[in-house]
Point group: C3
Chain length 344, copies 3
């Protein structure tokens, strides 16, 4: 599998990184992250060029990282600053330094050409900074699945009726058609389920009297971030298809980090516009999400196992796949474009 390289991936929540050395794997590359004494993030290739020992097995000397085998030491820019036992520093004794940045409490890493890393390109939603909305962090979910299948699941309103019948969906939505459109490299899939009982996640936090209108708008930002606008309002509100301003509403965010060909981390959180200061409500919602995402994990890992067995399988396509097919084509084009640019 080839990956899109020139984009910002999530390395972790900002809170995961300290003065301790933390080893992660992104796009199959081992990276060691730590904070310098002024709190800035530093990300280096996690492999000493001398004997290949992961640098994460060494230790910090000030803001430099010292290999745990023979003490070869590197600065945050990846350049060697010391080789014990000799005065000269070998020209090739460098490790790759990755651009990193912290935004909205999230640590971002750029796996592509460093000179193309622009911090303003980092994923942003106005709701992150809008005082009418409150973010609530969730978990890092490890999936033994390639990230494309995980992402497909995030532009797929149809599966909630079958995979998440107690939390995010219910049988009333089984046959409701899905609208899919493309906006640049973003895929938007959506549907309204009208006049149906509320689903589990909203029953857990709101006190609906009867049936509701429910909307699902999945914004999948290629290659690896999804924001799912998900809400319900009493049927009496009689909402138009373009009105998501009433009732309860959340954005469920998913930041996918492709670990390697068959492993992905899905870091998820939500942003809501109600009970802003009530952490207990956020916790109750996360409990619902944990149930739902464990169901996704079960499905996605089973699919990965089958794909490993029959890599040449050509799937049957059905109507609900429209968004997923758009997404696959976008990623394929992004990878191809990077390939061609590298050849120039």
């Amino acid at each position: 599998m080839e990956f899109v390289r020139n984009c910002w991936y999530v390395a972790g929540w900002g809170s995961e990184f300290t003065r301790e050395l933390t080893a992660i794997t992104v796009l199959g590359e081992n990276v060691v992250l730590y904070r310098t004494s002024d709190g800035a993030l530093c990300a280096l290739q996690d492999r000493c060029p001398h004997k290949l020992l992961p640098l994460s097995k060494g230790r910090l000397i000030g803001d430099d990282i010292q290999c745990g085998y023979h003490g070869m030491t590197f600065g945050c820019d990846g350049k060697c600053v010391r080789v014990p036992g000799q005065d000269n520093l070998p020209e090739k004794a460098t490790v790759r330094a990755y651009p990193v940045c912290e935004r909205h409490g999230i640590a971002w890493i750029w796996m592509g050409e460093p000179e193309r890393a622009v911090e303003d390109d980092i994923f942003h939603m106005t709701e992150f900074t809008d005082p009418a909305w409150a973010p609530h962090f969730g978990d890092a979910l490890y999936l033994r699945s390639n990230y494309l299948n995980v992402a497909e699941n995030l532009c797929d309103p149809a599966h909630v009726s079958f995979v998440h019948p107690t939390t995010l969906g219910n049988p009333e939505s089984e046959d409701v058609p899905i609208h899919a459109e493309r906006d640049g490299t973003t895929v938007i899939t959506s549907r309204w389920i009208r006049n149906a009982p509320p689903v589990g996640v909203f029953k857990a936090i709101a006190d609906f009297k009867g049936n509701v209108d429910r909307w699902h708008y999945y914004y999948l930002y290629s290659p690896s971030i999804a924001a799912i606008d998900f809400g319900s309002a009493d049927v009496d509100a009689d909402l138009a298809d373009d009105d998501r301003s009433q009732g309860v509403r959340i954005f469920a965010l998913h930041f996918l980090t492709p670990v390697d060909d068959t492993n992905t981390i899905d870091r998820w959180m939500h942003i809501r516009n109600f009970s802003l200061d009530d952490d207990e409500i956020g916790g109750r919602m996360n409990e619902q999400f944990r149930i739902a995402f464990a169901e996704d994990k079960d499905i996605l890992e089973a699919i990965q196992e089958e794909e490993n067995k029959c890599p040449d399988h050509r799937p049957v396509r059905i109507a609900i796949d429209k968004g997923a097919n758009m997404y696959r084509r976008i990623v394929s084009d992004m990878v191809e474009q990077e390939r061609q640019e590298l050849q120039c």
Copy 2:
């Protein structure tokens, strides 16, 4: 490894299958089995053609099976009967349906060309239905070994002297020659051990006064079923070589299901002509068999490990291998014949 496909394999004891979805693997293919509302067996390819999710992760809707991801639903004939969110059913949306049949309390499956499945070809012994004989079911023994080695062990009277010294054999038989003959695709290996102490399995159930004559007749029905006629009578009975009518006598049956190249299930049971209604006697015999077959498992799995290390090894052949060599040739011919028929 190629398998013989046009034959009935054991999918399980009949009691293993209910209205629950049960996943099994036969000849490397994943199959889901369940009973319809009228109790009939249904066996389908265990992989949704849409996103590859095993159908066994879904659920029954009446007698149809619904995929747990997007609800695509299939009937017992493997044809798609529903695709949620659309009215038309894609032509390719089918899964393979396997002929299945229940006989003698055993569930049989046909992995080859469905039009060649004839239920009368299912393995049968008159003793199954003869009131003078009583069947007693045993276990499903999982072996990390290819089925050819397991089957060889079932036309091999010689190994009991060394592998099963406390149950099925004893040192008196070490050097007794073995007779091997071929009858169509069946291999029959046999020997009489005359005037020797009784072996463990018979000591556990019969009260012999002194030495016995013991017979072993191994009927190996290629490619995967063995019936071992095994008995002992007091030496005073002075039995002729063709007389197995006296003393205690059992048929130990082994039904091999090749799971894949290196895994096999051996479902075993026995039929006996004494103490027909005494379940306790059957249980005591099974205890002896469990000891013996665990010894076989240990040997056969060790051999598989060695074969994996040196796949090109050419074994030394000795006199006792005659039956095994016949069996290997029969299976090789059966596989080759199926290959040629497919090319026509």
Copy 3:
């Protein structure tokens, strides 16, 4: 990886072998060892030529080994002495017999051409038999690492400053240059650390008043044995560089057994010239060694994992690698020479 075959490897401490059958793996070959009734060692290929069962799953009949499957039996010379059920012995029914020898309480095995095995070539130090010195056996340390990396670590005085800061090294030695020289197929690396605090292993057993002069002389006998002359004396002793006669002194011995391409056993022991009869002192030193060698294991296994990921990696070379580079060239030449001799 190719191995040097024509040399004596350590099969185990002599105490590891009894009348029980013991299975070991050396250079990727499975070997079964046992003692004959007169106490002599016998080493045979651990695989019956009939059905490949490891002979170690069989049992001894006198001084012969009987296969646990069909009773084929072999003498210490690897020749078949019995095939149950037949009188003739097939010509090919032999297993390889390995020259073995016991010296200094250690069992040695020769994996190369048997006619070239000369017992006088077994590793020897006069200190083994000198009454002024006492040996003290240690453990068998299993490392998931190829033996070349383990051996490199045994001609590498530099790593102790970083890997073993509490036991064998300390920061004072970080930048002290290393001398490396070659003597035939032996690599000798050494350095003196002058006027520094004593290291942990010596503090545990000696009562130094202040700083010491410390020497490390690593004798690496290619391909797989190291003797590390390691000692300290009070700075007042004012030792010359060629004087290691004072203070405390030990030889730490490492006998590497390459199990296969990525696994090695390091059997270690020490010989000391003080407190000869005090087992408690030896035990206390071994505790220090266990801490230190667990640190090596951690490093060497991490390196092996990285090498598996990038087998074509070309490491950066630095000054301290001189001894390791000599060693790699010697082993490479030894392997090449054996290859050429086999072609003649």
